[in-house]
Amino acid sequence: MKELQPMNDESKNNQEIKRREFLKSLATIPVFGLFLVNLWIKIRGDAQKRKNLMLDLIQDKEPPAIISSLSDSKHLNIGVIGYGGRGSHLVRGVGFATKGWIDYAYNASKENSLHKAYATFMGQDDLNCSLVGVCDLFDVNADLALDASQNDIRPGGKPKNTAVRYKHYSEMLKQDHIDAVIVATPDHWHSRITIDAAKAGKHVYCEKGLTRTFDEAIDVYDTMKKTGMILQLGHQNRQVEANDKAKQIIDQGLLGPVNLVELTTNRNSPWGAWVWTIHKDGNQKTIDWDTFQEPSPNKIPFSQEALKRFFRWRCWYDYGTGLSGDLFSHDYDQLNQIIGMGIPKYASSSGGIYFYKDGRDVPDVWHVTLEYPDRDMTVLYSATLSSNNSRGNRVMGHDATMILGGQSNAGGVGGFRVVADRESTQYRERIEKGIINTKYPIYNYSPGSKQIDGVTSATSQYFANKGLLYAYRDGKRVDPTHLHIKDWLDAIREGGQPKCNVDVAFEEAVTCAMATESYLTGRRVEWDPVKRRLI
């Protein structure tokens, strides 16, 4: 060929220049090639690792979708009994907020763009309800509830009906047009109101803890079963996606045998220890003290002490059960949701009033041991109200430990992580091959990690870590309290049972009662499931 087309010197030169030009143009291409090769090795290695880790072991199911609004179905009339801090939050979950709250939340969002309370509230589904009945023993709260029922700054706009105040809940229960009631009174009223409401044909959303005593738990359970009315207990953690994911992991045996679970509460503020504000307008005229203390074992005349007890009722066994009904119940229910361990065989507890020596009779440092011999498992609960050291909740398996909340919270809320155990049997081979590094989580779940919100106060952070403040559906932040109310209303409209129904509510109530009983009597308490009694 060369002979057929001989090149002269000049063209040879040109050719050589072109060749060099070309080489210089492409000189860094090999570096790019090297980059691509290394990128490919890295991607392949990561994929292999991921494949060998849990991500692949977990049969990913679709995240729970946002259930479409049932606003075209039956309109429901709701009554609220107890419109304090929690009651007002629940009523916002239904879709009604006071003008004062709207102003506060709106202004807060203007001042701090990360404050999402207003946007979250206004973004709620319209649940097609009216707030028609209000009952609170404190006039100021009752007026606020009336105000909320009339406020048309809400998802869905102008309310269909507005509320009437009833001095006593029994009057409210006589109203035929009321379909369902929310009970957010102090705990000593829960069982009586719930039972009376169910008997009057009203569905009930009751705040936790379900009851103050064991006997009340039995009565509530029997009544709900007999009347067939729908009960939702106020453990909104049941709506948190992370807990469903955690359940999946445990159901698949990825932690191996679980013999010990540690649950903790770590708070360190007067608010967190129920030293709540005594309202300036709280007095004998505005508070119905006699009705308030009617079901409590010990009664005192109206006084400064009574005022303290009215507003800080969680500090006394006469009205609640302290840590047991308030916070242990949440952690217990979250674990029950994930593991489904039910009522323990034995419960023992101890603690004391070590920090808040303010006249309370419930402990501020308190620990519970629950024994499940049939499941070869112990559940330890440990709480302090005088340290924020966030210990998280740990489900400790032979093969891996799941750490929920607390220090596991890496950027997201309501997340958890799973760390393999270096002596694991299930993962031994993978650990030896270096596929699993026991220093790093093999599974990390941080919902909403792409959507950040400004959770600022320590107490909010505490709840957020436990997944109690925000849930995520399709990456959108929603208030689990709203989802929990919606779940209850859906069950009322469609039939079926809500997520924290009477069966699991009963387990919570009995377990909490066992723990309280053990503390008060100083002995181990046994559950007799056949005769349904405590031994």
Binding site: K24, S25, T28, V31, L114, G411, I452
Partner: protein, 166 residues
């Protein structure tokens, strides 16, 4: 592209200078490219964590970006694709002055959103010890040098596209 300051074969004192500059360009290109690609490959990556930890004059702007999902998504895309494209430009020597300029702007923003000034405390753990000067500001300056001493018309695809005399 202005080329008053461009190095060409006549202004080069020696090839070592050229190779030094090309190596610097390629290494920074590699760095930016991988920073971009690794973000593109991670479905959970978001600039939110970095922005939330922002201090100094841009912290309120950072907060505003994070609180607005649309703005945050745009910011994420600018970072992921911006770094990838600037990295490719520098590594391959294609439109590499634009690549240097883009990289400079991005990294200068990283510096300004979280400068290592005395008294500013950051939540995320640092990977080195810095006071005022950190690796970001050095990389910005290196890109500044590369912008004013372009080499891609000598070694790089720009030579093929525009010729060495460009």
């Amino acid at each position: 592209m202005e080329d008053n300051h461009s190095i060409n074969s006549s202004t080069l004192i020696n090839n070592t200078q050229l190779y030094g500059l090309v190596s610097l360009r390629v290494l920074i290109g590699w760095h930016l490219l991988y920073e971009g690609v690794s973000k593109l490959l991670n479905p959970y990556w978001s600039s939110a964590a970095y922005l939330l930890d922002s201090k100094w004059i841009f912290s309120s702007l950072a907060k505003a970006i994070v609180s607005n999902p649309t703005l945050l998504t745009i910011t994420d895309y600018i970072n992921m694709w911006g770094l990838t494209i600037c990295g490719l430009c520098l590594l391959l020597g294609i439109f590499s002055r634009y690549g240097a300029l883009g990289g400079m702007v991005l990294i200068a923003l990283y510096y300004l959103f979280a400068p290592p000034f005395i008294g500013l405390e950051y939540a995320r753990p640092g990977e080195g010890s810095y006071i005022i000067v950190n690796k970001n500001i050095i990389e910005v300056l290196a890109l500044f040098v590369l912008y004013h001493f372009p080499t891609s018309h000598l070694i790089g695809l720009d030579r093929l596209l525009f010729g060495s005399k460009k």
